[in-house]
């Protein structure tokens, strides 16, 4: 019976000398090539017979498997060594960078979208009206007759066009949208109307153009307690706080009765204003129950229907929430300001995600 020990030793010896893929190849040819040692031995099996052939074949197959195993493992080993070497030489300076920049969304737009998101969740739809308004829609229909003292508090811009013999105005508030909407739609009504407003006033704390959002709810039961509930949800959601001191106090607007101004609590830490709790109050909005005269002016029966309205300044909301100190900077187009206070375009206000 042939002893293959010599062959095994030879294989062992040869396999220790691998330095690269070529030497593995040579090894494979030497043992497994057409004229390789194992192949020749395999051929020789034919001359044997019976048990001897069977035993030899078994032995040779085992040796062949060993050789294949050696080739596979050594190839893997050399490949990883090679890769390792390559990786070591392929280094980049990761401190270098290029930049990808996004533009920014103006804080006014951001805050308007936040307001829409919150009220949208409460099923208020977004109504609109033009920025040039008729005197009737801006004042008279809102229970502010021509000589009402409240008119003088609005420094109104006038334009040269007229409607029904009265000069048109740049709307001094978003309230005329109430009138336009109520003429179009019968109750129940739930709407907000964000937009640009104008007053002939220009100093540290006034801008001739600014933004407001108006809210209006008309149905058969909405009352002062709903108004309070509505504003409480809004203000807590908007300022992203669970604790919010809120104070209603009497005020006067010709188009609401009773009228109220709403203050929210705050504390000052250094230069920062923290909205929520505290001894001090900040005026944030005006509101009230819609005056029956306003409903009658738009042909809604004030004995059957009632409701509330509110209005607030977008800039004021933005300043308080985002710590912007000067009203006039909003419209200054200083790109340093826009890049600092602006918002990412991917940052779309959401009730389920983040509001801001």
């Amino acid at each position: 019976m042939k002893d293959f020990r010599e062959l095994e030793t030879e294989i062992k010896k040869a396999s220790d000398k691998f330095t690269n893929i070529e030497s593995i190849n040579e090894f494979r040819i030497k043992f497994l090539g057409k004229k390789g040692i194992i192949s020749l031995e395999m051929k020789g099996l034919a001359s044997l017979s019976g048990d001897e052939r069977k035993q030899h074949a078994e032995k040779l197959n085992k040796i062949k498997d060993t050789v294949l195993e050696i080739i596979a493992s050594k190839t893997e080993e050399l490949n990883s060594e090679e890769l390792e070497k390559k990786l070591n030489s392929e280094t980049l300076d990761i401190t270098l960078s290029t930049s990808k920049s996004y533009g920014t969304i103006h804080p006014i737009s951001q805050v308007i979208e936040e307001v829409i998101t919150i009220f949208g969740d409460l099923n208020f739809f977004v109504a609109e009206g033009p920025e040039v308004e008729t005197d009737y829609n801006n004042f008279t229909a809102l229970n502010t007759s021509e000589h009402h003292p409240a008119r003088q508090m609005h420094d109104t811009f006038y334009v040269e066009t007229e409607t029904d013999g009265m000069p048109n105005v740049l709307r001094t508030h978003t309230s005329p949208v109430q009138i336009r909407s109520m003429l179009k739609q019968k109750p129940p009504i739930r709407l907000i109307a964000p937009g640009k407003t104008f007053r002939c006033d220009n100093d540290q704390t006034h801008s001739p153009m600014f933004h407001q959002v108006e809210g209006l709810v008309i149905d058969q039961e909405s009352n002062m307690s709903h108004l309070k509930g509505c504003l409480e949800i809004f203000l807590k959601t908007f300022f992203e706080t669970d604790k919010l001191n809120m104070r209603f106090r009497p005020s006067h607007f010709p188009f609401t009765e009773p009228s109220a101004e709403v203050d929210i609590g705050y504390t000052k830490k250094g230069n920062q204003i923290i909205i929520g709790e505290g001894e001090d109050w900040l005026e944030i909005l005006g509101c009230g129950m819609v005056h029956p005269n306003v409903l009658e002016n738009v042909n809604i029966n004030s004995n059957e229907y009632q409701g509330y309205a509110f209005g607030m300044g977008i800039e004021r909301l933005a300043m308080l929430k985002y710590g912007i100190s000067d009203l006039r900077t909003f419209f200054d187009s200083d790109l340093r300001w826009n890049k600092h206070y602006g918002f990412s375009p991917l940052n779309i206000p959401s009730i389920i995600g983040d509001l801001s």
Partner: protein, 795 residues
């Protein structure tokens, strides 16, 4: 409205402390805007007496004084020229703060001599502009007495905001009345002697137009002495920031601020004949007490005599009959002028006065005679003389407003149960008399409340007195929706456009809706856009386009060292100042450096292809799905004619433009950079609101994709887009894409020629394309392109 706490307590008997009053004022709608505790500010200042006065050894103008301040005697260095031995002075001790400059007094060496404290002038104490010398107090003043007591400054001054409806609180008494209604004490009635008068007034009164003045009461006083007012009256007026003038004028001011009753005094000797209340004649003019000449118009209410205009009713008196210290005989006026007419006249003449402010908000008719009585008592007391009987022309309306309501209505409006009993009790605390029949409660409104007309007003009174803090909070979430959509299609489009544009590197700006008409002729008809009363000359029209303000923003930021601009605005621009002539537009500008020179990039600049791509991809985002976008040269005149294009959608509407700003416009705005612009007229985009959530069917082919490149030489004038369209139309099924990948211009190509290379992608849904299929379609492509562009293929 300013008043002092001590003045308030003349009308209000209360156990409440100041803090409670302050809180209550705000909670009943009289918002406290400012509080000045003058007692506190002056608490350290006391009376002292100069015992010795000698020259400072090292300074000519300074004096060394020894001052007795009661508990001790101190050395004070003083620079006042009027200081002298024996003089009673106001002494500010070490540690006190000088009101005018908030300087804290310290013990200090002045030119080598120790000084403890200071002697003060009125200016330093912030009570007048008198700073020529220190205050000389009366001889009789007690050393050590508090200075604020002497000057009546031991008080708190409160400033409240009065909303236009609360005319009743434009006098201190009204404020006290409202506080009393709200449970803060008891309203005190002033005792007025009610002098009847001993003779008939020699000056008769005639009202010619009772629409503009319904009543005019006059009283004649003879032999009065118009002196300086007594201290108490002067201090009272000073405490609320009014300058004392003379007793007669001070008395009318006092009555106005106390009782909310405007009065006027005429020097009766300067009146010719009788008083006539009438409408002014056109062209009449009149010199008012503010020393200005006013030209009057028919309809304005004037008080005249038989020769001249004496005053503007309810607004301002005139110079001609003004009272001086010489005045001997006077006529006192208390009248009722029409609210609207007063407002109109005041506005037309731009006169702001305390009287106008009150009359246009409505005056309690019952104050007409009460005001006369109070002023009479004070005039007789201070100025002496004798008074006539009251001469009354016209009628004082006595009937009260009537409003019917019910506790049901009030409860429904306020959102909580108010019982009949509570309602009636609140109303009666306000002086509203009630009578109940079944559920209906009839309210008689007192004459001082001119603002209560209807049930809604009653509901406000109730909650005001009960306290807004008692309104409960109710849930407003709905069981079923009222509104199907929160935003409509146009609003969503606007919001989407904003986020998309910002995502492609533009910063959003919000600029004024106004702009400067100069340089704007090119953008629209500036004559149709004028603002009648602009805030400034350079913001005199509504903007015809978003560009002017954005160009100004570029110029401003260029000065701030920016050299790359990607800015946009979405907003309204106007065709005219009619309400319907407002359009929604998105306008973006890219200008300057696109990529900075760096270790990785070479420097590149923005060009029109950047804004074109932004515009078309924006349209694609806003209008997904099939549409045909075509480009042509017809752009508005603010664009460079050769470097701009308009974008048409589905061959119908022009939805937007892109291109370079016309160099002439750029130079008008003093901008040197190339400005690349896109404008998208959002209202013009066809409505493509989704009707189904399904996406179109997708057919995918697994057969091999083949690409072939072609280059054509065509005339420079021919648009490259032509090549793409004519290649595409050869086989709509097999040709999946055609893309231009090269543009080459060279004289070797021929004069005014360019070479355009395209890559055509081919794929079949049925088979792998064989070489002959490909060459067949290739030659069709070449044929089609050559034909439509008159060009030749390059081989």
């Amino acid at each position: 409205m300013r008043f002092s706490y001590s003045w308030l307590t003349e009308h209000l008997k209360t156990n409440a402390n100041f803090e409670e009053i302050e809180k209550k004022l705000t909670s009943i709608g009289l918002e406290v805007e400012d509080i000045q505790d003058t007692g506190k500010a002056y608490q350290d200042f006391i009376v002292g007496q100069v015992l010795e006065e000698k020259k400072h050894p090292n300074a000519d103008k300074l004096k060394l004084c020894k001052v007795d301040i009661g508990k001790e005697k101190v050395d004070v260095v003083c620079g006042a020229p009027n200081v002298e031995k024996g003089m009673k002075v106001v002494y500010a001790p070490v540690g006190s703060t000088i009101p005018v400059n908030q300087m804290k007094i310290k013990a200090a060496k002045i030119r080598g001599v120790e000084s403890y404290g200071m002697m003060c002038s009125e200016y330093e104490l912030g009570i007048s502009n008198e700073h020529d010398g220190i205050i000389r107090l009366e001889e009789k003043e007690t050393i050590g007495r508090s200075f604020s007591e002497i000057y009546g400054l031991n008080d708190i001054v409160i400033e409240i905001g009065i909303t236009p409806n609360r005319q009743d609180c434009l006098g201190v008494k009204g404020i006290a009345r409202d506080l009393a209604s709200a449970g803060m004490g008891e309203l005190l009635e002033r005792k007025i002697s009610g002098e009847k008068g001993s003779f008939k007034s020699p000056i008769k009164i005639e009202i010619q137009d009772n629409k503009i003045c319904s009543a005019f009461a006059g009283r004649y006083f003879r032999n009065v002495k118009n002196t300086e007012s007594p201290e108490w009256l002067k201090n009272k007026l000073k405490s609320i920031g009014l300058r004392p003038i003379s007793a007669l004028v001070d008395i009318t001011n006092f009555v106005m601020y106390d009782e909310n009753r405007p009065l006027h005094v005429y020097d009766a000797d300067k009146i010719d004949g009788k008083i006539i209340v009438r409408s002014a004649n056109d062209g009449e003019s009149f010199l008012a007490l503010d020393e200005k000449d006013y030209h009057l118009k028919n309809g304005m209410c004037v008080i005249a005599d038989e020769k001249k205009v004496l005053g503007l009713g309810g607004i301002m008196g005139g110079e001609s009959t003004g009272c001086s210290t010489e005045t001997k005989n006077v006529l006192l006026e208390s009248a009722l002028f029409d609210e609207i007419n007063t407002a109109k006249t005041g506005r037309n003449l731009s006169i702001l006065s305390d009287a106008r402010y009150r009359f246009e908000r409505g005056i309690d008719p019952n104050s007409t005679l009460k005001g006369i009585d109070l002023a009479t008592q004070l005039i007789l007391e201070i100025c002496g003389g004798e008074c006539s009987e009251v001469e009354l022309a016209g009628n004082i309306k006595e009937n009260k407003n009537e409003v019917s309501t019910s506790s049901g209505y009030i409860s429904r409006r306020l959102g909580f149960e108010v019982s009949d009993k509570e309602l009636i009790s609140i109303l009666s605390s306000l002086g509203i008399e009630t009578s109940q029949t079944g559920d209906v409660i009839k309210c008689l409104i007192p004459s001082w409340r001119q603002d209560i007309h209807g049930e809604a007003d009653i509901s406000e009174e109730v909650i005001r007195i009960k306290g807004y803090e008692n309104i409960p909070t109710s849930n407003i979430r709905l069981k079923s929706k009222i509104n199907k959509n929160i935003l409509n299609y146009a609003q969503k489009k606007l919001m989407k456009a904003r986020h998309f544009i910002a995502s492609i590197e533009y910063d959003e700006l919000v600029t004024f809706s106004f702009t400067d008409s100069k340089n704007c002729e090119v953008f629209g008809d500036i004559n149709k856009l004028k603002i009648v009363n602009p805030i400034s000359e350079d913001l005199d029209i509504l903007r015809p386009n978003l560009l002017p303000n954005l160009l100004q923003a570029i110029k401003k930021n260029k000065n701030r060292n920016f050299d790359s601009f990607s800015i946009f605005e979405i907003g309204s621009q106007y065709r005219s100042t009619s309400p319907e002539d407002q359009l929604n537009v998105a306008c973006g500008i890219k200008s300057g450096i696109k990529t900075e020179k760096s270790w990785k990039n070479i420097q590149t600049e923005f060009d029109i292809y950047d804004v074109k791509q932004d515009l078309t991809s924006l349209i694609d985002y806003l209008m997904p799905g099939n549409k045909k976008i075509s480009v042509s040269n017809d752009c508005p005149s603010w664009y460079h004619p050769g470097r701009s294009g308009s974008i048409k959608i589905n061959n119908s509407v022009i939805a937007g433009y892109f291109g370079e700003l016309h160099p002439r416009v750029a130079s008008q705005f003093k901008i040197k950079n190339k400005i690349n612009i896109f404008e998208l007229y959002l209202d013009e985009l066809p409505n493509t609101e989704k009707k189904t959530t399904n996406k179109p069917v997708l057919n995918l082919s697994d057969f091999q994709i083949v690409t072939r490149d072609f280059a054509f030489v065509i005339d420079k004038k021919v648009k490259s887009e032509e090549i793409v369209t004519s290649a595409f139309k050869v086989d709509k099924e097999l040709i999946r894409n055609v893309e231009i990948f090269d543009l080459f211009e060279d004289d070797n190509l021929g004069k005014d020629k360019k070479s355009i290379a395209i890559k055509v992608t081919l794929q079949s849904n049925e088979k792998t394309l064989a070489e002959n299929d490909i060459s067949e379609i290739s030659s069709k492509i070449i044929e089609s392109v050559e034909k439509s562009t008159s060009g030749t293929v390059r081989s």
